[in-house]
Amino acid sequence: MSEFEPKIVGFFCNWCTFTAADLAGTSRLSYPSNIKIIRMMCSGMVDPKYVLKAFLNGADGVLIGGCWPGDCHYINGNLKARRRVAMLTEILKEYGIDEQRFWLRWIAASEGTMLRDVANEMTDKLKQLGPSPFNLSSNRKDLTAMGGL
């Protein structure tokens, strides 16, 4: 059997992390294709619903990438994101989604290498952890495919 390939949804801020992903691309930094990038204008634009949706639809991990504090193009959207992530983490933890599956990281536009490192680190972590409990629920256990709810 082939190795478990986790699916990660990346909500990346247009100004920093998305640009860093672009940079990683142009700098030939290879990072795992497990991360499905969705461009948001700001990490503060990531609604908790999106994160829940991603997990419910089969994501094994969610990575939100934003600008460093003080660096947000929209002044402080990233700080808002941080509070929401803290809140949402508490909810997800109660229902089996470990903190290690839901990351918020500050990755500036110039930090292509950090993006690569974070992507690698998260992919490795999720490989260790295995599929998300949302994908292993009794309802779905017998089903080979993973997907929407």
Partner: protein
């Protein structure tokens, strides 16, 4: 028939941050800009800096236009700049200028890159095979590069070039180039253009160890580096992936020292100026070193004066002190290289009266700015002589105006500027240029008016997909376009799939238009490279074929194809492209057609404050045909400087200057003056404000309509009760002394000793927490004036740090040369003053000899700094503008948006912003006027497509969106009992959308439904074509 007027065109020579800002400003008005840079890349010094004070990060994107933001790409500024009105010409030099005001013929020399960057795919096969290795300038020699290289590794698109100076002409690169774009025989290309105005912005050069004789003795080790090299070390794109290691052996650098004033403040080397930026630069680097390297990193700054003169600079310094950065006041003579590679420096501690030797892993030299070598060249181009400071001669009050009319300058070309001043000056120079252009018989670029089709978005979604094969240049067979086409065609909502070639070329565009005209679809996806560059033109093209602009998605096919997947198997690339297109289609299917509305702009400006800044801004606007309401609280114009300061050390005469300006203001038909009036309240949004002003004499209200406003409330001389001030006739403030000397009421001819105390009540926790910026220079001016009248008097200036930044350093030097004695004191050991027989007796510690001095000076002069105008808080309240703890207005962003408020349509100028010199206040006033003019000028201002709206029926008025909006774009209207959105101010950041739990606040074109559909698509394991749906 009238002949068509030419389009106003401006050359901006120099594409550093000030040049880019100037170009953006002019392009926003609708003028055509040629933006050249002598280097192969735009961005100037900023391209190398990942981290800027005060946030210690980047933020350059904040200089992008806020209103009508869709005209410039919303993209990382450090990677690229795209604006349809800006033609970017890197590696191009201005070689000849002919003509006169408003009419120049310029000759430009485009240097050969030897690579056709339009066709190059940027993948750098050539780099791999190039046998030449030389130190890479971008990383300050910390890394190597090839002869063919990318000057800025993170730019988009990749702009490679061949360095012919080191190229061996082996031809290997030519052989491997998959796109045949290398021509080693290419030649420089000279061409001429016609422009109406010229802005020079050739920027700054930094003192460096390789070039300058007196610095070479420092280069004892690889671990002695310049400040800019340190920036490259801590940069994420830099040499060690952002880890702080020493270059010699890659070991972590735990003890780092910064040595200030490297190359500057040096009379011997004829560089008697202060580079102005290095103190903040070093503070920031020291902070970053500790943040990135951890608490065990020891950061020490060797300095003479910590010149933390700008707004909030002193606070940052205090933060650095609190963060454990060490400061040693000693200019070190040399660094010694120890056998274990560590670096030793010996210094003297005056207080302990002892020498110390400290070892460091790395020594960073704060290499200062020096006037650019191109100054002389530029002077020659314009037949001018450089002034005694080696700078281009400018008009006395306007730093951005060259003595030659029609030519302007900005950034460090004016002298030595920091980032915020570079930005302000860029705006101001653009303002001067636009003033000139508005008086000429030229026009602006009219936007292509293509009617938006109204019917198509009501149809069932049918998507046309166009994929540009140009992406094949990436890697010939990496994407199976046939499979893509087949797969996509299976969807019933896909109208057609077209594979075309070179959509960026004219021929490609023509082909595309033909295809689209035949299309029955109502939505369009175009996959091409660099969508940021082509978005606008492709959208216009599609609009001509009947597509609604908001229903067109252009995505970066080329980067999807290879981004991040270089090591993955090739079939993945088709798969990735496919799944990306599916996601975009899911989004597009659900997207509503968005329509852009023109904002109704009231073409009147409100200026609050009739000081020099306010008058200057009013006049600058009036001259360009904008109507101005000028509101002044008192009964006379001129403000503090215009009524009190007769002469300054740099030969300005504020009072007489203000008088001239006053006459211009009073006589101008476009300016309505409201004296004795204060602002009471305002309502409305950008473009349509209504402000109530109250006449202080008869308490009558008046309502003024305006589209934008400039706050220029000014400041006052600070007040103090320290040092027995007010208790003796012999204790005066600098202002009283200045006044007394000029009127002759104060007689210093018999004085033996005069003591001045600087920073009275300033830069301390209990007082003004800022440097007032002008007091050191003011004290020196007064001291020199006394000295002239009474050369026998001993004058002591007790200071904490002498803030004579930039070329003002020369006044400091002059004062010392005149025998004025400067004695530094510490905050914890302030001078003590007591009165004996009504006369002051002062005790202080002489800092050099470390001995106590007691003196009975004839006069004790205090420098109590600058206080903000007392009414700032009320003005702030009336306009809903923030005021800081000190009482000055808070701008949107201290570096990148120094003269704007977060509230769209409001600008700040002069001392209302922070204490500043007259020239700086005028510069800001000019810049603020330009910002207002750009909005109120004739070009139509559209709100953006993507903005937030309110679904009123389900809105519960909790106002969480109002509280959370970072741009004050949302407000609660009590009368209507509704949430209102200022469409111009809204930046579509989406904060309101998240704060609102039931989507009553929503971002048009960014709906939950769309994003959730994208999540669905992204997570779908079985793309539908695989299962043959």
């Amino acid at each position: 028939m009238a002949e068509k007027k030419p389009i106003g065109t401006v050359l901006v020579a120099g594409a550093g941050v000030s040049g880019i800002k100037a170009a953006l400003e002019l392009a926003e008005i609708g003028y055509k800009v040629l933006l050249t840079d002598a280097s192969p890349q735009i961005g100037g010094i900023l391209a190398k800096l990942d981290n800027q004070f005060p946030s210690d990060h980047c933020g350059m994107c904040r200089i992008l236009p806020m209103v009508g933001r869709e005209y410039a790409s919303q993209y990382c500024m450090r990677k690229g700049l795209y604006h349809e009105n800006i033609e970017i010409l890197p590696f191009t030099e201005l070689t000849r200028v002919e003509g006169d005001v408003g009419n120049y013929t310029i000759e430009l020399l485009k240097k050969a890159r030897y690579i056709d960057t339009d066709k190059c795919n940027g993948l750098g096969e050539c780099i791999k095979v190039c046998p030449v290795e030389v130190p890479d300038e971008f990383n300050h020699g910390l890394t190597q590069r090839k002869a063919v290289y990318k000057p800025v590794p993170h730019s988009t698109p990749q702009m490679l070039l061949v360095d012919m100076d080191v190229c061996t002409n082996c031809g290997e690169c030519v052989k491997v180039c998959p796109t045949n774009v290398i021509n080693l025989g290419a030649e420089d290309e000279a061409f001429t253009r016609h422009v109406h105005s010229i802005i020079l912005a050739s920027g700054v050069k930094l003192y460096n160890l390789e070039e300058f004789e007196d610095a070479k003795s420092w280069a004892v080790s690889q671990d002695v580096i310049s400040a800019l090299a340190f920036e490259r070390i801590i940069s994420g794109t830099g040499t060690f992936d952002g880890q702080i290691k020493r270059p010699s052996d890659g070991k972590p650098a735990k003890k780092i020292a910064w040595v200030q004033c490297m190359g500057s403040r040096n009379r011997r080397q004829k560089r008697d100026y202060c580079s102005s930026i290095c103190c903040m630069f070093a503070l920031k680097e020291a902070m970053l070193a500790r943040q990135k390297g951890g608490d065990d990193v020891e950061a020490t700054i060797f300095y003479m004066d910590m010149r933390t003169f700008g707004k909030d600079f002193y606070r940052y310094y205090e933060k650095a002190v609190d963060a454990g950065v060490k400061f040693i006041r000693c200019r070190v003579q040399e660094v010694m290289h120890n056998p274990d590679k560590s670096l030793s420096m010996r210094y003297y501690d005056s207080q302990k009266e002892e020498f110390f030797v400290a070892d460091y892993d790395m020594v960073v030299l704060s290499t200062g700015q020096i006037p650019h070598k191109t100054h002389a060249k530029l002077a020659k181009l314009f037949h001018l002589e450089l002034n005694c400071q080696g700078l281009l001669p400018t008009q006395i009050y306007d730093k951005v105006k060259l003595v030659k009319p029609g030519v302007f300058l900005c950034g460090s070309l004016m002298g030595l500027t920091d980032l915020s001043e570079a930005i302000s000056s860029g705006i101001a120079a653009a303002g001067q240029a636009s003033t000139l252009l508005s008086s000429l018989d030229v026009t602006i670029i009219e936007e292509e008016q293509i009617a938006e089709p109204t019917t198509k978005d009501r149809q069932v979604p049918l998507i046309s997909v166009v994929l540009c094969k140009c992406s094949e240049k990436v890697e010939k067979s990496s994407v199976d376009f046939g499979a893509l086409e087949m797969g996509l065609k299976k969807f019933n909502f896909v109208g057609e799939v077209n594979i075309i070639d070179m959509v960026c070329s004219d021929q490609g565009k023509e082909n595309l238009l033909k295809l689209l005209k035949k299309s029955q679809s109502n939505r369009l996806i175009i996959g091409a490279c660099h969508p940021f560059m082509y978005r606008k033109s492709l959208k216009n093209l599609a609009k001509k074929a009947g597509f609604a602009a908001s229903l067109i998605e252009i995505f970066d096919l080329s980067s999807i194809v290879h981004k991040g997947f270089f090591e993955s198997v090739k079939k993945d690339q088709t798969h990735e492209a496919y799944s990306e297109i599916i996601s975009i289609m899911e989004n597009l299917k659900l997207k509503p057609a968005l329509h852009v509305e023109t904002l109704s702009m009231n073409r009147t400006a409100l200026v609050v404050g009739g000081g020099i800044a306010g008058m200057h801004a009013s006049f600058a606007l009036a001259q360009r045909g904008v109507d101005v309401h000028l509101v002044e609280k008192s009964d006379k114009l001129g403000g503090y400087a215009g009524n009190n300061i007769h002469a300054t050390i740099d030969d300005l005469e504020p009072v007489s200057m203000a008088k001239d300006l006053m006459i211009k203001v009073l006589e101008h038909k476009n300016i309505i003056l409201h004296k004795n009036c204060e602002v009471a309240a305002t309502q409305g949004s950008f473009g349509a404000f209504e402000t109530r002003i109250r006449d202080l004499e008869n308490q009558e209200n008046q309502y003024l309509s305006h589209g934008a406003a400039i706050i220029a409330t000014g400041g006052l001389e600070g007040k103090t009760a320290e040092y027995e001030y007010g208790n003796s006739a012999n204790i005066l403030t600098q202002a009283q002394l200045r006044e007394g000397l000029s009127t002759g009421k104060i007689d210093v001819s018999d004085a033996q000793n005069i003591v001045m105390i600087q920073c009275v009540g300033s830069r301390e926790k209990q007082g003004r927490k800022y440097c007032s910026r002008i007091c050191c220079i003011g004290a020196i001016a007064n001291a020199l004036a006394i000295q002239e009248k009474n050369p026998d008097a001993r004058i002591f200036i007790l200071y904490r740090d002498v803030m004579t930044y930039g070329f003002a350093e020369q006044y400091y030097t002059k004062a010392r040369g005149a025998g004025i004695v400067f004695v530094s004191y510490d905050l914890d050991k302030k001078p003590e003053v007591e009165l004996v027989d009504g006369k002051p007796v002062i005790k202080f510690t002489e800092s050099v000899l470390n001995s106590e001095i007691e003196l009975s000076p004839d006069f004790l002069i205090l420098s109590p700094g600058v206080d903000p105008e007392v009414s700032n808080r009320e003005v702030g309240k009336a306009f809903d503008l923030p005021v800081n703890d000190d009482g000055f207005f808070i701008e949107a962003d201290s570096k990148w948006r120094p003269i704007e408020f977060l509230r769209t349509g409001f600008y700040v100028a002069g001392v209302a912003h922070s204490p500043m010199t007259l020239k700086d206040a005028i510069l800001q006033a000019e810049a603020a006027a330009q910002k207002v003019y750009a909005h109120l000028s004739s070009r139509k201002i559209h709100r953006a497509h993507v903005i937030s709206k309110v679904h009123d029926a389900i809105c519960v008025r909790c106002q969480r969106c109002v509280d959370i909006c970072p741009y004050d774009a949302r407000s609660y209207d009590k009368v209507l009992d509704s949430i209102m959105v200022d469409a111009a101010a809204c930046q579509a950041c989406g904060m309101c959308g998240v704060a609102c739990q039931n989507n009553a606040a929503r971002i048009m074109g960014f709906s939950d439904k769309q994003i959730m559909a994208v999540i669905d698509a992204k997570l779908s394991e079985n793309p539908m074509f695989m299962v043959g749906k």
